[in-house]
Symmetry: C2
């Protein structure tokens, strides 16, 4: 058994190694960018204007470069990537989303975007980068070793492992990564794939942290944002209501964030607003960096700190504030940013939370590769800290009644708030696990779980998740879920939503029927039935197949043959060359063919043209010969009484076109899939299709059997 899974192990190790390296190098580059900005800003402290210019020009240049670079190289690299991966894992093929160009654009664009210090996240794009890595690695392995690496079903399984790797090596959180990627990308999940994700994510997180040790950044492998809360009495039972309220507030906040984000995107899409692709991000960056300028407004909201520094400070296990008076906290360098001589620490925290909230919502709409997880996480931490500090002020000696004094730990509230807000925005509960792995402490498990669940309940009732929201905005071809608790859906059946006048062709259809069908319909696949009376479904044929059948029937070669025949009969040879050269472009599409043949009337004698049109008409009346046509004999069939839940089950297995036929008129919800016809570069296709093509031997027998049926019918 081990030898059989050998290929998988090697693949996953390679993937983990690669992603850990990418993650680490990117972190290094980002830290370097931020250091450079600080150095520039620090060196110019004599002149405030120069300092300001240095402070704003750096991010503006980086973001503009990132936007421009991505736009030119691969516009698919823009944004988070999780919505696209969710769609791809459902079996939809999104063009150009998994190419090397996109990989380069995403990695470089992301590094620049994060290096600018804008409130952007790394985790969403990393899911995309890991998937890109997996897809490219699969292609490479298939080219070099062939065999199993060519199996497309396997590649899809590897893709879902890659999503786990992406989150895992970004946060050094393997378990949380696996769970988060499952929650975010799948509706149904094969436990078989679980170990792959675990293995790859663990390996990747391990290498990622080992690199830090080797680089002398850390003494040993520890959590990214290690906390040092006391173990013996992490929190009091009577603090739980405060945690619950924090969770509910984060739920509302999460829903508001998603709403705000969507509002901004829709505003920007307004055609009356002539926003250029580079001007918009530059303007946003200018605004945000102006507001965070440390000597200006930034001094009241810890503007000089990077995301990493802010988070370390917020997770601090000391209380910043007691009895309303801020303590001296100059022991760690970052902390003085939170303490303003004139302003209370509460004001700083409130300003930080509010300003970062809308800044993050705006910044994540910029057309650069960026995620929203980390900014939201940070806002949640700040909000949690605020609640914690208020609690610490209200109960300076802790709430515990009997005996020993256990003061309240505001850092614990920060951890809870971070998990709850990020959980609310993404509609996941696995942020709880991520937060444990990020902080290296699990002592607050109960408050975190309570807050995350409450935040999810509130946010899910108000808004879709950020990723679903983007799916809707982008009109990605994604069949929406039936929704939890919609029990009445158990009783909706296929017959309620099915299209009743499905287009089909029969075994004795003529080419004319075929032509008509192709010219009027838009469907990618057509049903083939035995005859109009029996309506026995024989299988489905792809549009492309039918088009080639039709063009073969009216092909240049056959036309030539006919003309030669005609010429032999009539003895005239004169107009032959002009005609044949003229009808050359008339192959793949019948529209152009008809046009070209009418346009050519000037050059060709009318009599022979008449003959050709006649020949064409004659050819069109012939019954279609399905002998060489590839027919898919195993489409998913749904009977009218099948319940919608079953459809959902089947749909997860493979997103076949039958279901697309089915849902295109699904009137209950405005399906995202409806948009699939208008979105360019999108091709819906069952993920197993190419796999099925590989079994050539059986296809032959299928064709033979169908041929027999043909003869039987026509007799």
């Amino acid at each position: 058994m081990i030898s059989r899974v050998g290929e998988d192990w090697i693949f996953l190790i390679l993937l983990g190694l690669l992603m850990a390296l990418v993650s680490w190098v990117m972190d290094y580059a980002i830290a370097f960018c931020q250091e450079a900005q600080k150095w520039m800003y620090g060196g110019l402290d004599s002149n405030l204007l120069l300092q300001y210019i240095a402070w704003i020009s750096y991010p503006v240049v980086l973001i503009t470069f990132s936007a421009g670079f991505t736009q030119i190289l691969a516009p698919q690299a823009v944004g988070s990537g999780i919505p696209e991966m969710k769609t791809i894992l459902r079996g939809v093929v999104l063009k150009e989303y998994l190419t090397f160009k996109t990989f380069v654009a995403k990695v470089i664009g992301l590094t620049c975007a994060l290096g600018s210090g804008m409130p952007l996240g790394k985790e969403g794009p990393f899911v995309h980068v890991a998937s890109l890595c997996a897809a490219l690695l699969s292609k490479f392995m298939a080219a070099v070793f062939g065999g199993i690496y060519k199996n497309e079903l396997r590649n899809t399984e590897m893709l879902s492992a890659a999503c786990a790797v992406g989150v895992g090596c970004c946060f050094a959180a393997p378990i949380g990564g696996v769970l988060f990627s499952i929650e975010v990308t799948s509706t149904f999940f094969a436990v078989r794939n679980y170990w792959r994700g675990f293995f790859a994510a663990t390996f990747s997180a391990f290498i990622f942290r080992v690199l830090a040790v080797w680089n002398q950044e850390e003494e040993t492998i520890t959590a990214l944002f290690k906390t040092r809360f006391r173990l013996d009495f992490p929190f009091d039972l009577q603090e739980l209501p405060a945690f619950a309220i924090l969770g509910i507030a984060c739920g509302f906040g999460g829903a508001l964030f998603v709403y705000l984000n969507r509002l901004i995107v829709e505003c920007m899409r307004n055609p009356s607003l002539p926003v250029r692709r580079l001007v918009y991000p530059a303007l946003v960056t200018l605004l945000i960096s102006t507001l965070t300028f440390p000597p200006g407004f930034g001094q009241f909201m810890a503007g000089q700190l990077t995301q990493h520094e802010s988070l370390v400070a917020l997770f601090d296990n000391r209380t910043w504030c007691r009895q309303g008076v801020a303590e001296e906290f100059d022991y760690i360098s970052h902390h003085h940013a939170w303490k303003h001589p004139q302003v209370n620490v509460f004001i700083t925290l409130i300003l930080f939370t509010v300003m970062k909230f809308w800044m993050s919502a705006v910044a994540t709409t910029m057309p650069v590769p960026c995620g929203a997880f980390m900014p939201v996480f940070l806002i949640g931490a700040a909000f949690g800290r605020l609640v914690g500090e208020i609690m610490a002020t209200m109960f300076p000696d802790g709430i515990h009644a009997a005996g020993s004094v256990y003061p309240i730990v505001p850092g614990g509230y920060a951890v809870v708030g971070a998990a709850a807000l990020s959980g609310a925005v993404t509609h996941t509960v696995s942020t709880a696990v991520i937060v444990f792995e990020l902080t290296g402490q699990i002592s607050h498990i109960l408050p975190v779980m309570i807050a995350v669940i409450l935040a999810n309940a509130v946010a899910q009732a108000l808004q879709p998740s950020l990723y679903d929201s983007i799916i809707r905005i982008k009109k990605l071809p994604y069949l929406p879920e039936l929704g939890m608790g919609h029990h009445e859906k158990y009783n909706i059946r296929v017959e309620d939503i099915m299209v009743r006048d499905v287009r089909y062709i029969t075994l004795n259809s003529s080419y004319r029927d075929l032509q008509e069908m192709l010219m009027t319909g838009q469907l990618k696949t057509l049903a083939l039935v035995e005859s109009r009376d029996s309506m026995i479904l024989l299988g489905s044929i792809e549009r492309l197949q039918l088009q080639s059948l039709l063009s073969l029937q009216l092909s240049r070669q056959r036309r030539l043959e006919y003309l030669r025949q005609l010429a032999q009969d009539n003895g005239t040879h004169d107009h032959l060359p002009s005609l044949t050269s003229d009808s050359t472009p008339s192959s793949p599409c019948t529209h152009t063919h008809l046009n070209s043949s009418t346009n050519s009337s000037a050059q060709v004698p009318v009599s022979s043209l008449m003959q050709i049109t006649e020949w064409e008409e004659q050819q069109l009346d012939e019954p279609v010969d399905f002998k060489n046509c590839k027919i898919d004999p195993a489409p998913f069939q749904l009977v009218e009484q099948t319940s919608l839940h079953k459809v959902q089950y089947k749909q997860t297995t493979s997103n076949t076109n039958e279901i697309q036929i089915l849902t295109i008129n699904h009137t209950h919800k405005k399906c995202a899939i409806e948009g699939s016809v208008t979105v360019t570069g999108v091709k819906v296709r069952p993920p197993l299709a190419s796999f099925r093509d590989s079994g050539n031997t059986t296809n032959v027998s299928e064709v033979t059997e169908l041929h027999k049926l043909c003869i039987q019918c026509q007799v």
Copy 2:
């Protein structure tokens, strides 16, 4: 949306509350039992023989009572319950597994079994208890409130949430509980169900721990086996190879455990061994308690400690042994058990590991409600501690080369060993999460993950998981998985394993065909096709339906009618009463009917008997009238080219009989499902069947349409 899921919330809260109470009360009772034993044993320290008798008689009585009680009340309560739940969640209905009687038997039997101090676990049975709770609660709610609680699909979803609750409230480990229950019970998993499990398990774990706080056992909510390892430098990078070796060793150990367990069960099943159901557990208990008798051999293997005490000691953060000499560790009362004046602590640990290993393997085969998780966890901890102590002896000042001295933490090895061995036995990686939640520390995440993954890789290559092993031994009707890494399965298609001469009836079949079909075949469902030539599948009919159709055709009423008709024609009335009273028992089954009509020849005149047989023959030749027959129009259809992986997908959706037809001749593997015919009390049924029955309105239209088809065919 919130109002719609309201019923679920209430249900899950009730379930969580109930299970937390059960878990806590059971723990309390078990602790009481063990205290009683200790008190008895301690009070008799003047006489060794009396002490021995007290030590052994207590567990023997408890185990015998547990075995007897379970046997009498509900034999289904025996064993872990996870294999049965795995089967039930796949859509198989196991009779009597979810009844109140089983609940009582399981809870009381389990309390006694665990109170005896044998190496048995609580976690497997708790999954069963939670499922029982959920099933009973569903039934209760359906009876009181009706409505949504009657939906069977919903109840199945609640059942999977209940499994998470079971693990969650047993270990106070909500996240690990959810993941463990998913890994153990499902092959495919709906993310939709995820939040239910999380919510219920969290709530349950919360209540479970709050009860301990209210009972003054704890100051606040903390982990069950709280560890206090240092946070700043939990382990050195150079210790990782040792952790990896520990993981691999645990993998082999886990496989050996499963093998040993199966061997013992198969030995006991040997018919030549006349083992009584009560004698066997009594003998096993006698043997084990004799060996653990503290003044006897037990002194070398910490025999006087309960599982809980042993685990607390093993997870201790101090080093027991330095430079080969045991330190003084008399600060905690349990620790002196590990320190023998004459014997090295290594010997104690080795003896503990080896003895507990086979004892646990034997004890878990006793016919009482018991699980194997906790004993295995304990053995793993002891083995890990052993490795850790050896490491600490070898590197007394830690391995770290540069600067500060960080001594090795043997307790960390114990944690890693516990997770790895339990992961290897159950084939899960979520034991890693359980161990974090149990100890309240996540600092050893990387070693734990590495060891668990390696242990899983080794164990999965050698043996099935303990639960799959039990499924095979018990011959539960379970379709085995395709196995990971079996890439060639992607190319196995249905046609390779399908049965080609499927029995079917056509629309113009006569009742005679039906009779023949019913008498020769064994299948639960029969296919209905349009005609022998067209072979269009119209749907499937249950055997029961056909039997009632047949008995209706030959019913007493119709027989009477015919005789009356006959009498009117002939003018003779004399033999009518005797005949009608005689043919009364001839209803449900045709066999008995035929017998009874031949037996009755003594009483009835031969001529009228002849007439009746003639009438019967005539009736049998009539074409079947399917008008009132319930036909399932939406069975899963598989086409020959469907790949086996697709079948597996479909199979998880609902374990329909079509698939049973398919797999019954599956020669590649000895399917567990083959046993389903011989095992009594087992009924395979699609979980959606009863749901489909509820939609009466559509059934009418189905019947009408089929009726039309009937007429069309017969014309």
